[in-house]
């Protein structure tokens, strides 16, 4: 509280002094201006370690006897650790986010610059459809069918001292409705990818069992850029059917993808390297999500 109050007092006095001393301000030369990246805005250091027991999406339908049923896709035990190497209030390396409201050409909106991604871990312990919908520990196949598709881990995500730019823009003077989301990954982003298909004796997905099957590899994304438009639309197709809904259009998707050290199961060697160079999705491709 003392520091809070002192900070507020110092800030208030600084503002008063700055206001009263405005006439004494000196011009800044051009070299100094080049170092300025922003006069206001917010810097946030994020250190987060946590789990969401269950994320789900469910739809209602009919079974073969025409009874009402609910079908559910479950993502279980999704965990995030912004620094998987360290664990402690003072030892963790926080991810840094710089937030600014900006006007950039024809567009304007919120711009985020993300840096210091050193060892970000994302894990989905299990995907299932109409399987176990609990939000705690994952039970084994022996108890009840899991209807499981397995689990996915994206570990040691590293930006190699680069920066990730994420922008949410109104489309402004372009004269187009909706929002535009832009994600520009750093020049090099690497991560360790692992998919596990659990065997029948699995009682704890955190421990690899003999009958688990896994596929893993080291994924590198080079100069990867995604720009999408996001809009709610209304319209009809040639048959007169409603086709409106959430419309996600592709403006740009480009980059290079390399998957190396691919390894399946418990094999001793690796399966080599797969490279996709010059990936580019055709502009004006789109995805529309609508109810039935």
């Amino acid at each position: 509280m003392m520091k809070n109050t002192k900070s507020i007092f110092i800030l208030a006095m600084s503002l008063l002094v700055a206001t009263n001393s405005a006439s004494a301000m000196q011009s800044i030369d051009e070299d100094t201006l080049r170092d300025l990246t922003g006069q206001s805005g917010v810097d946030i250091d994020i250190n987060f370690k946590g789990t969401v027991g269950r994320i789900y999406f469910s739809t209602k339908g009919k079974d073969i006897s025409n009874n009402d049923v609910t079908n559910t896709l479950n993502f279980r035990n999704f965990s995030i650790d912004t620094d998987g190497t360290n664990h402690g209030a003072n030892s963790d390396r926080a991810i840094k986010v710089k937030l600014d409201l900006v006007e950039k050409g024809l567009k304007s909106g919120l711009a985020a610059v993300i840096t210091n991604i050193n060892d970000l871990d994302l894990k989905f312990e299990q995907f299932n459809v109409n399987g176990d919908s609990g939000s705690g520990a994952i039970a084994g196949e022996a108890g009840s069918p899991m209807h499981s598709y397995g689990g996915l881990s994206l570990l040691n995500i590293n930006d190699h001292n680069g920066e990730t730019n994420v922008n949410f823009f109104a489309r402004g003077k372009s004269g187009k409705e909706g929002m535009q989301m832009e994600i520009q990954l750093p020049k090099l982003l690497t991560l360790n990818l692992k998919y596990t298909d659990y065997g029948s004796d699995n009682t704890n997905n955190n421990t690899t069992k003999d009958d688990d099957f896994s596929f893993s590899g080291d994924l590198a994304l080079n100069n990867f850029t995604v720009e999408n438009s996001i809009d709610l639309i209304t319209g009809k197709n040639a048959k007169g059917e409603d086709v409106g809904g959430l419309h996600i259009g592709v403006i740009t998707q480009t980059g290079d993808i390399t998957l190396s050290n691919m390894k399946a199961g418990s094999q001793a060697g690796t399966m080599g390297r797969m490279v996709i160079n010059g990936y580019r999705m055709t502009p004006e491709s789109y995805l529309t999500i609508q109810g039935k």
Binding site: V42, D45, F48, K49, Y56, E103, R171, G175, G244, Q290
Partner: protein, 292 residues
């Protein structure tokens, strides 16, 4: 008198002034009711606003300075903010270790943000489709990203929402929203047509009529946000460091319970329901927020 005591005294004074401002809405206690009072101390503030409270514009401006002017600073405006017929009461109490502000009761209410807009210029005329618009008009018009509506915001009577200031100088926020707490959330993309008229009516309440407490727009996405013993524990806010290195530290407490988005509806068609359960946050998690 230490800083915490001073802050509590200041807060008490503000609450008394706040209560005085709305004293016309207080109901006098009859003698019989007074006889039941057994000498408890503390303060209860009841706020009751009749009709609609309106804020024309809330604006946040980010004054970036980029020497090459490719990226300029921007602003975010929340326009036409409305809060409908609100009634709530809070208890304020001071113990040996903390000052507590606790929500005592809350009536069902609606609120809306008529336009969420980047770089809004109120001096410009609205776009008229029959007249060629200027670049500045287009920028101001298409800088809008839609409108947001919260309807039937209901907090269960057993809810526990409190703010505390303890003698350690920390500001703590706790919230428990039992089953029975919910609100309808609606985002409209095209709230107004080119003439500023609404073109679509949506029965947000599901009560069969679209005239009272409902929203209008052309394209929308909505859901019923439902809480089930959703509990956020001990989010703390405290100032750290002094001078140029000062920052606001937010430590993230643990979370229990579930939050669901039921009947997600795009332009009148339900695509399903989604939700999150059993969210756990490790105590090492934090946010550090500072200006730049």
């Amino acid at each position: 008198m230490n800083m915490t005591s001073k802050f509590v005294k200041l807060l008490s004074t503000l609450l008394v002034l706040f209560a005085a401002k709305f004293s016309y809405a207080l109901t006098p206690l009859v003698d019989d009711a007074l006889s039941d009072v057994s000498g408890q101390s503390g303060l209860t503030v009841e706020m009751n606003t009749h009709g609609t409270t309106t804020i024309d514009e809330f604006r946040y401006t980010d004054e970036n300075l980029d020497p090459d002017e490719l990226i300029k600073g921007g602003s975010l405006s929340l326009r036409d903010i409305k809060l409908y017929s609100t009634k709530f009461s809070v208890d304020f109490d001071v113990t040996a270790t903390e000052a507590i502000l606790k929500l005592n009761s809350f009536s069902v209410t609606d609120m809306s943000f008529g336009a969420i807009q980047f770089n809004y210029d109120p001096t410009l005329a609205k776009i008229n489709p029959l007249v060629l618009s200027s670049e500045a008009q287009k920028k101001s018009h298409y800088g809008g990203v839609g409108a947001l509506y919260v309807n039937d915001f209901t907090i269960h009577k057993d809810a526990g929402i409190s703010f505390k200031i303890n003698t350690a100088g920390d500001f703590l926020f706790n919230t428990l929203l039992p089953a029975g707490s919910f609100f309808y959330l609606t985002y409209t993309d095209d709230d107004y047509d080119a003439n500023g008229d609404s073109t679509f009516a949506f029965d947000t309440n599901g009560d069969g009529e679209t005239s009272t407490d409902d929203i209008v727009g052309k394209n929308y996405i909505s859901a019923k946000v439902v809480f089930d013993d959703f509990n956020i524990k001990d989010i703390t806010f405290s100032g750290k460091e002094d001078g140029a290195g000062a920052y606001l530290e937010v430590t993230l407490g643990d979370t229990d319970g579930a939050i669901a988005f039921n009947d997600i509806n795009i332009n009148g068609k339900v695509i399903g329901s989604a939700g999150l359960e059993n969210i756990k946050t490790d105590p090492v998690s934090y946010l550090h927020i500072r200006g730049h």
